[in-house]
């Protein structure tokens, strides 16, 4: 009787559950293949990307030598005639970097973060470098290799553009994607100014007409139009928790700052919430600031050494970095 019943019912519930899980695993494998593997195999190199934006649509940007002179004159007090390295600074005729490591909180709740105050003589001194020097989906490279290859004096992790299929993403004037994704953006124009926009607060075509040097897509924007923290931030719960952070701040054309917070390292540094990070930028007096890819990616390098402590044992490859470098004129 019992056997008859079992035959009628077919598989035992446990076996059925295992088979269901295996089936789900199979579906996930197929999904992974079409979602991640196939696009990576098909991904076109840089030349297949849409035509890059014209480099200088504004009258100011077309006269690069004038701009360079302007910034060098304006920030002359920060530059030196010869390159000078110290443990926490670098100055030259074209670049000034002052690094400072600070702590927020005390004891087990403390967070260590690094602030880089940056003056540059020309826009060429601040740029981005993408993994393997290509604009390609899923392309990653060891952070220190990127640091070496780009000739960075100072670098921080970017927005991991290569793990993003869509969004407003431009690197050194080259377009990776102008397909709208529901994401905030940070835009650097050819006059050196930086503007940040919330998810629904920008028109890609209108921005493209102004000519864009860099467009990062991660967020959220950290400061409002008056340079104050927002009352609330549109972030998922996991992103809002204390985490290692990487962010860029803007004072005026030619004057920027990078902030990288160490985190997820018990007894050394907990990490920052988005609110705490925004508070730091407000305290620094930045006009605007933008959160970049943090977590295991958050990293600052200086003089080809790791300046911050990456949380995952420094083994995560990155998609891109933002860096300060010497140009031939300033070297």
């Amino acid at each position: 009787m019992h056997e008859k019943k079992k035959d009628k019912k077919g598989l035992s519930p446990w076996l059925a559950a295992v088979l269901d899980l295996l089936l789900a695993g199979g579906i996930l494998l197929v999904f992974t293949f079409f979602q991640l593997v196939l696009p990576a195999l098909r991904a076109a190199p840089v030349e297949a990307a849409p035509t890059p934006a014209p480099p200088s649509p504004t009258p100011e940007a077309t006269q690069e030598p004038d701009t360079r002179t302007e910034w060098q004159k304006k920030f002359a007090a920060h530059f030196t005639d010869e390159p000078v390295w110290t443990e926490n600074s670098y100055t030259s005729p074209n670049v000034s970097i002052q690094l400072e490591t600070r702590t927020l909180g005390e004891g087990s709740g403390q967070t260590v973060y690094h602030v880089a105050d940056i003056y540059v003589g020309s826009l060429d001194n601040i740029c981005t470098y993408t993994a393997n020097n290509e604009l390609k989906y899923y392309s990653t490279q060891d952070a220190m290799e990127m640091d070496e290859a780009s000739g960075a004096l100072l670098a921080i992790s970017g927005d991991f553009y290569s793990y993003q299929k869509s969004g407003f993403l431009i690197r050194n004037g080259e377009v990776y994607s102008t397909e709208y994704a529901y994401s905030s953006v940070c835009v650097m124009f050819y006059d050196g100014s930086i503007e940040v926009y919330p998810q629904d607060g920008y028109d890609i075509d209108a921005l493209m007409e102004r000519g864009i040097y860099q467009a990062w897509s991660f967020g959220p924007p950290l400061l409002d139009e008056e340079g104050k923290t927002f009352e609330s931030y549109n972030v998922s719960t996991t992103v809002g928790y204390p985490n290692p952070r990487s962010a860029i701040g803007y004072y005026e054309p030619g004057h920027y700052c990078f902030v990288v917070a160490d985190g997820r390292q018990e007894g050394y540094s907990k990490g920052l919430t988005v609110w705490e990070l925004a508070g730091i930028f407000e305290g620094l007096g930045c006009k605007s600031a933008y959160n970049l890819d943090g977590g295991g990616s958050a990293l600052m390098t200086f003089h080809h050494q790791r300046y911050s402590r990456q949380s995952n044992g420094a083994d995560r490859e990155l998609g891109d970095i933002i860096l300060i470098r010497e140009t031939e004129a300033g070297a």
Binding site: G10, A16, L19, D20, L21, L23, A24, G26, I27, L28, F31, F34, Q35, F160, Y163, Q164, K165, S166, A181, F218, S236, T238, V239, D293
Partner: protein, 66 residues
């Protein structure tokens, strides 16, 4: 037809588990865009179709039993 009716609940469970996994991964790393693009759309549609078919089969069986 009978084997379809027997396989439908299992397919529905499997699609549901797969979809939940993708949704959780997307929550932890939204920048990867797991729920964007055609594969995600196909997965969602397949899960919905299976669920709808499963529901229809259950409903008709329930009516017959009554």
């Amino acid at each position: 037809m009978k084997w379809i009716r027997r396989a439908l609940p299992h397919l529905t469970i499997a699609f549901a588990i797969a979809l939940l996994t993708v949704a959780i991964l997307n929550e932890f790393n939204p920048r990867m865009g797991f729920l964007q693009g055609r594969p995600a759309l196909v997965l969602i549609c397949a899960a919905c179709l299976c669920a709808a078919a499963c529901g229809a089969v259950l409903y008709s069986r329930d009516r017959r039993e009554k």
